[in-house]
Structures are given as structure tokens and as C-alpha cells.
């Protein structure tokens, strides 16, 4: 029986079981984003000093749930969809062991329910990090373990699919760059999940009484090999999504396959060392260890991100220039499709991740500078730039691409969709920038009352800090409106969008395959290599993408200036040794 359908618009081939899995994972992710977004609104409205919405106990509970739901559940469900897409669809291969993939999906769902139940029962307000010896309910840890095992199964299904594709010769030459990026994400994910198992399984056993003691410092070291590395999965995956969108919208080809893939290889080798970022002011860990690890062995993973920061927009610039947009430095960028949310989402994600998230991440991850930033609200500011403006917005941009292709529905509310990336990316950038600013004034993260009302010891942060937190609150509300617009557009399209295929009913939007007759291809034709370039080779004609080079230099100058400003701040605090 034939198992493949070819998308009439894009020519992509979808394997029936893979298609259902992608839909189910993407929809599960969107549900998590809905929950997490509502929780996020409650958090930001409580940290907005003038509003201060929730009481303390509810705030800590909601904050715990917000972190886990957004940072782990939403992002990883969507990542599973990306792995299946990059493995099966892009390689024109059947998905290996779909039943295992479904088992993994079910485990992930059970995990989500278990952990969220534990949190909302009230006894597990321990924050995402759940540092021992602060205890949570056993089913809090158990849920996370089940979710991780499910994700691990998904990773192996992806790896199995690569093997199937290779054996069945579904493609010529090497795997595409986007699949290579997904493979990087998958490898980092396996490291991450193994670290998670190593610490969460003992912690679960401790919570039910089988283990008497877990060392609090060791917990932090191993937990962060889960906590930070899981964000590196996102980095690898959303860079792959940037390359994908550049390819789909502009026909952009990587400036150099070798450079882009080598940059991914640097991620695989060094990105996980970043767990040290969280331990820079911890007792009992030596400076040598901190310096080597926090710098990813001399910043080689930062180098990789700086390379992608040049090659992704550079590839777009080259493609645009080939189409004749050659006036000046930036005609290629000015005349880019800014009204297309696939492009604007992707490009805001790229800029936000690089300028806001990337620079701040390296600065705060400097051993000594951490002293003036550790556990202040600067930290949430930073990671809302990386995983929300960066990763989440990239997922949103990809969704707009997938609604017609994967779900076979026409997108509703195109006018709103045009604005959505600006609302979400703009609002969240405000959150990030103003939280970082408040953090430099010392405002604590994970803290219910920055005013310390009624405390006999009394303390007030500078008045500016209140203003900054208020502005961040406004940004948060704008971002939530942008997030709601995304959910409205996507869910609305899945339910009510014009059907591009007669059999694309409501159940089909949630994972049920289309009519059998649609799957008319038994085995797709082998995926050919990309057509050779008109002009072979580069290098002899100077800079191909001068505008991008200018942007990259702007990034570098901002980076250098901001980096040394923070050393200056540090030099003004009490001498410590």
C-alpha cells in the first residue's frame, strides 16, 4: 500500500505515519504554549510592581509551572515534530518504527500530566530547577523522567530514520544542512536526557525515601547538564529552522556547506559545557574548571554561533543579490518580504537571539561578571531573549510555513499574522531588555515582592528599578497578546481554515491521516543533490554579502562595548578574593 503523499505546492513528500506524528507533537506543543503563556501572563503581572496580581504562594506555584511548561514541554514537543520533519520529510524516507514514536509521544503526554498535577496540587512549588534538598512530590520528578524518556525515544526514532534513509538510498550525496542541524540537536538532546536521568532518577528515589541524601552541590552540577544543555538543543534546532526558512523563501544556499557544518560540529563538541554558567558563584568548584567550561573551551561554541550569525543572513543576501537586488548595502534586506510572518518571524528571531540573547549570555557567563548578575532578574531577561525571541519565534515562523503544507489548511487572519511576529518579538524584547536592566540594579529573580513590604529590616531597590519592572510588565502584556494571536491563527486555521485537500477535516488537523487516495506514492523518487551553482566556487571575487558583513561588525562592536562596560561595573563593587 502506498504510504507517501506529495505536497502539490512544495513538492515535499510526507510519509503517512510521520505526518501524523508531526501533527500530534506540534498540536501538543501548542497546547503547552497556551497553558504556559497564560501562566506567563500571571507571572509578569505579579512582577509588575504596580499590579502585583497573585499572592505569594500562588506566584511561586505559577512560576514553577510556567518555566517547566514553556521551557521544556512546549519547546520539546515542537522539536520532536522538527526531528520527524527533518528526518522523514526532508530525506523522503519512511519514518523508522512509528509505533515506538507513538509510545514516546504517549509517555511525554503522561509526563506532562503527572508533573503539572504535582505542581498544581501545591506541594511542588520548587521552580523548574527543583534544587535539593527542597522537596517536591514524587510524581513531579516522575513526570519529568517519563517526559524525558519519551523524548529520548523520539531521538532514536530520528536516528533510525537516518539509517533507513541511508540504507534505502532515498537521497543522493550527503544529508541536507537542515537535517544535519537537526542531527546536532538530536545528539545534544541525548547527552542532555542522559544527564537528566542521572540526577532526576536518584532525586525521585530520594523523594520516595529509598535514598537518604543527595549532595546539594553535586545536584546543581549534574542538573545543569540537563538544564542548560536542553537550551542548546533549541539553539541547534532553531538555527536549522533559520536555514530552512532561508532556503524555502529565498532559495538561499549555504554560503559554504563546510563552514556551516563545521559550526554545528563545534556545537556538538563544546556547547554542553555551558552548564558551568550556572555555577560560577558556587562554593567547592575551582576557578580552572569554571573558566574552561564557562567559556566552552575558549568560546568555540560562541564562535559557532557567530558563524551562523553571518552565514544565515549572508545566504539570504547572496540569493537576493542574485535576483537583482544589488543596490547599496541593504537593498536585499529592505526589499525582503517583511509582511510575510515566516520571514519576519525568522529574522526577528535571528536578530533577537544574536543581539539580545547571545551577547548577554556570554557576558553573564564570564566567570567574574557572574558576581554582579547571578540570580538577579537579568537572568530571566537573558533567556527570554534566547528561548522566547529566539527559539519560540522561530517555531512560530515555521508553523506559518507548515499550516498549508503539513496540515493542508489555508491560514486564517493573514492580516493579523503579518503583525504577529512584531507584536510577540517586540513585546518579548522589551521584557528581555528591561529585565536585564533591572537585574543590573540588583533586583532578584524568583521573588514575589521587590518592595519587601512590612519587613522590619526594610530595603528598597532604587526607584528606577520599579520603573524598569513596570516597563517589562507592559512588554510582557504585548508579548502575550502576540502569543495569543499566534494561537488564534494556528488553532483557528486548523479548525476553520479553508481546506486545501478535500479530506483535511478537523480530526486530520490533530493527527488522523488524510484520505487513503491522497497517499498515492509508493516510494518517492530519490532526492537529488542541489543543482550546481551558476558560478562555481567563491573567494576570488571579494565579499559576496557585504551588507551582512556590516551587520556582523555592528554585532561585534556592540558585543565588545557591552562586554567591557560590564567589567567596568564589576570593578566598582567591593574587592573580593
Amino acid at each position: 500500500m502506498s504510504q507517501f503523499r506529495q505536497c502539490p505546492d512544495t513538492g515535499l513528500f510526507f510519509h503517512k505515519p510521520a505526518e501524523s506524528l508531526m501533527k500530534a507533537n506540534a498540536v501538543a506543543g501548542a497546547v503547552c504554549l497556551l497553558i504556559g503563556g497564560i501562566l506567563g501572563l500571571l507571572v509578569i503581572l505579579t512582577r509588575w510592581p504596580a499590579v502585583h496580581l497573585l499572592p505569594a504562594d500562588a506566584f511561586y506555584m505559577v512560576l514553577t509551572a510556567h518555566g517547566i511548561t514553556c521551557l521544556i514541554f512546549w519547546i520539546i514537543f515542537f522539536e520532536m515534530a522538527i526531528l520527524y520533519f527533518a528526518g522523514s520529510t526532508l530525506l523522503r524516507s519512511r519514518l523508522a518504527t512509528p509505533r515506538w514514536a507513538w509510545a514516546g509521544f504517549v509517555l511525554m503526554i503522561v509526563g506532562v500530566i503527572s508533573t503539572l498535577t504535582a505542581i498544581f496540587q501545591g506541594g511542588s512549588s520548587v521552580m523548574m530547577t527543583s534544587y535539593v534538598p527542597m522537596p517536591a512530590a514524587p510524581h513531579f520528578y516522575l513526570g519529568l523522567i517519563l517526559f524525558a524518556v519519551g523524548a529520548l525515544i523520539g531521538c532514536f526514532v530520528f536516528l533510525g530514520t537516518l539509517v533507513v534513509a541511508k540504507n534505502e538510498k532515498t537521497y543522493e550525496g550527503s544529508i541536507p544542512l537542515v537535517t544535519f542541524g537537526a542531527l546536532t540537536a538530536c545528539i545534544i538532546a541525548i547527552f542532555t536526557i542522559a544527564s537528566g536521568a542521572e540526577i532526576l532518577i536518584p532525586t525521585f528515589l530520594w523523594s520516595v525515601g529509598y535514598i537518604s541524601h543527595i549532595d546539594a552541590a553535586m545536584y546543581r552540577v549534574i542538573w545543569w547538564a540537563l538544564g542548560h544543555s536542553s537550551q542548546q538543543i533549541n539553539v541547534s534546532a532553531h538555527v536549522a529552522v533559520w536555514y530552512l526558512i532561508a532556503g524555502v523563501l529565498f532559495g538561499a544556499r549555504p554560503m559554504s556547506e563546510k563552514v556551516s557544518r563545521a559550526a554545528y560540529l563545534l556545537y556538538i563538541l563544546f556547547l554542553q559545557l555551558a552548564s558551568a554558567h550556572h555555577l560560577l558563584t558556587d562554593p567547592g568548584i575551582s576557578s580552572d574548571w569554571k573558566i574552561f567550561n564557562t567559556s566552552y573551551a575558549m568560546y568555540l561554541a560562541v564562535l559557532a554561533s557567530m558563524i551562523h550569525g553571518l552565514t544565515v543572513p549572508g545566504a539570504i543576501e547572496v540569493a537576493q543579490r542574485n535576483k537583482g537586488l544589488t543596490n547599496g548595502m541593504f537593498e536585499w534586506l529592505r526589499k525582503a518580504p517583511w509582511g510575510n510572518p515566516v520571514f519576519s518571524g525568522m529574522f526577528i528571531s535571528l536578530i533577537g537571539f544574536g543581539f539580545l540573547g547571545g551577547i548577554s549570555g556570554v557576558v553573564m557567563g564570564t566567570e567574574q561578571i557572574s558576581i554582579i548578575i547571578h540570580n538577579t532578574i537579568y537572568v530571566p531577561g537573558h533567556f527570554h531573549a534566547t528561548v522566547v525571541v529566539g527559539t519560540t519565534l522561530a517555531w512560530m515562523a515555521l508553523t506559518y510555513l507548515l499550516i498549508p503544507v503539513l496540515f493542508r489548511r489555508k491560514m486564517i487572519l493573514p492580516g493579523l499574522a503579518k503583525w504577529q511576529p512584531y507584536l510577540f518579538g517586540g513585546g518579548m524584547s522589551i521584557v528581555a531588555i528591561f529585565h536585564m536592566a533591572a537585574g543590573t540594579l540588583g533586583v532578584a529573580r524568583r521573588h514575589w515582592d521587590m518592595g519587601f513590604a512590612g519587613n522590619p529590616l526594610g530595603f528598597e531597590y532604587p526607584g528606577t528599578a520599579y520603573l524598569l519592572m513596570g516597563i517589562a510588565g507592559v512588554g510582557g502584556v504585548i508579548a502575550v497578546i502576540g502569543g495569543a494571536a499566534y494561537l488564534l491563527i494556528t488553532v483557528g486555521s486548523l479548525l476553520f481554515g479553508e481546506k486545501l485537500d478535500a479530506s483535511a477535516g478537523i480530526l486530520q488537523s490533530f493527527g488522523v491521516p488524510l484520505a487513503d487516495s491522497v497517499y498515492s506514492t509508493e516510494k518517492p523518487e530519490r532526492l537529488p543533490m542541489a543543482p550546481a551553482e551558476a558560478v562555481e566556487g567563491h573567494g576570488d571575487s571579494g565579499f559576496e554579502a557585504p551588507g551582512t558583513f556590516v551587520l556582523a561588525m555592528v554585532l561585534l562592536v556592540s558585543f565588545v562595548v557591552y562586554y567591557f562596560i560590564n567589567w567596568k561595573y564589576l570593578s566598582e563593587v567591593w574587592p573580593l578574593s
Binding site: P133, A246, P283, S287, S295, M529
Partner: protein, 179 residues
């Protein structure tokens, strides 16, 4: 078109890299090395470094040290809870403990004098966040960290807890006066 297709050249790793990318990679690499060497540089020439000195300890052992210091150097009490204020001599070992939801005791230090400040937690993780000067450190139960501090401005300083430590976390404050 091609980021999601196999590379156009089968032997893609032999295709020469463009000049623009080489230049950027070199610039970025130099910057990465500068950032890397800033950290050891600051250990030698900078004044703000967290020491590598730390010991494993237990709440009982640590509390005994804190109590011994209070007995010796207590100068007064503050607030309705009668929290002792300690004025240890310059250069001495000063013991501060963190527990739910208190920094104990309060300290009186002299400006421009150095103290060996020991900090440990009696229960869960806490965050030492000294305001408004903005010095932040992670306090982990079972570990006693030792940092030599040299307050260089006089005034009243507040220790905020900035690691979430349960339902009353936001009430956990401490005081240091520098004279």
C-alpha cells in the same frame, strides 16, 4: 532551495571557503580568545574574584562556629526578634549563616579592612545578594564558602535572598553596616 537538499557537490568539504567567511571567522576567533584570556587576567590583576576556598560542613558544626563568634563579638541586638549584631575585628574570620528565612547574625564591618567571610546554609539553597552594591553568590547547604571581602564604601547594606527558598523567600533579609 538548497539548505534542505543534499549539497550540490558530492565532496562538499573540499569546496574552498569564501574570503568573507574566513575574515569573519578569524575576527570572531580573536574576539573569543580575548574573552577567554580576560578571565585569568582578572584573577591576576582584577580585584573581584570569588575564592576557591570552601569546605564541606554540617549545620551543627557550622552553627557552633557562628555562635562562638557571636559570644565573643556581639555589640547589640536589632529588631523585635533580637537578632545579634556582631562587630568582629578587622582581618578575622566572620561567620554568616543562611536559614529559612533569615541571614544570621548581622555584621558591623570597618571600611577598607579585609575580613574572611564564611557563609553556609542550614537547610536549602539560598542566594547571597548584597545590595545596593550588587554582589551575588550561591549558598549551598553542606558547603562553607570563604571569601575575603574588603568593603570600600561605608553605609548600610542589605542582604537579599535571591535563590528561591520556599514560601517566605521574599522576607529573607539581612544587614551589614560598614563604618
Amino acid at each position: 532551495m538548497t539548505s534542505f537538499m543534499p549539497p550540490a557537490q558530492r565532496i562538499w568539504w573540499k569546496v574552498p571557503v569564501g574570503r568573507q567567511e574566513i575574515v569573519w571567522i578569524l575576527i570572531a576567533l580573536v574576539w573569543c580568545l580575548i574573552m577567554f584570556f580576560m578571565m585569568p587576567y582578572w584573577h591576576v590583576y582584577g580585584k573581584q574574584n570569588i575564592s576557591n576556598e570552601a569546605y564541606q560542613t554540617t549545620p551543627a558544626k557550622y552553627q557552633a562556629k557562628v555562635q562562638a563568634m557571636i559570644d565573643k563579638y556581639k555589640v547589640r541586638e536589632e529588631t523585635a526578634q533580637k537578632i545579634p549584631v556582631v562587630a568582629p575585628p578587622a582581618g578575622s574570620d566572620v561567620y554568616l549563616l543562611a536559614r529559612l528565612w533569615q541571614w544570621y547574625p548581622m555584621l558591623e564591618l570597618e571600611k577598607d579592612k579585609s575580613y574572611r567571610l564564611h557563609i553556609s546554609s542550614m537547610d536549602w539553597n539560598h542566594g547571597f545578594s548584597l545590595q545596593p552594591v550588587n554582589i551575588n553568590m550561591q549558598i549551598v547547604p553542606g558547603y562553607e564558602m570563604v571569601v575575603t571581602v574588603t568593603p570600600d564604601k561605608s553605609g548600610e547594606y542589605t542582604i537579599v535572598c535571591n535563590e528561591y527558598c520556599g514560601i517566605m523567600h521574599h522576607t529573607m533579609l539581612g544587614k551589614i553596616w560598614v563604618k
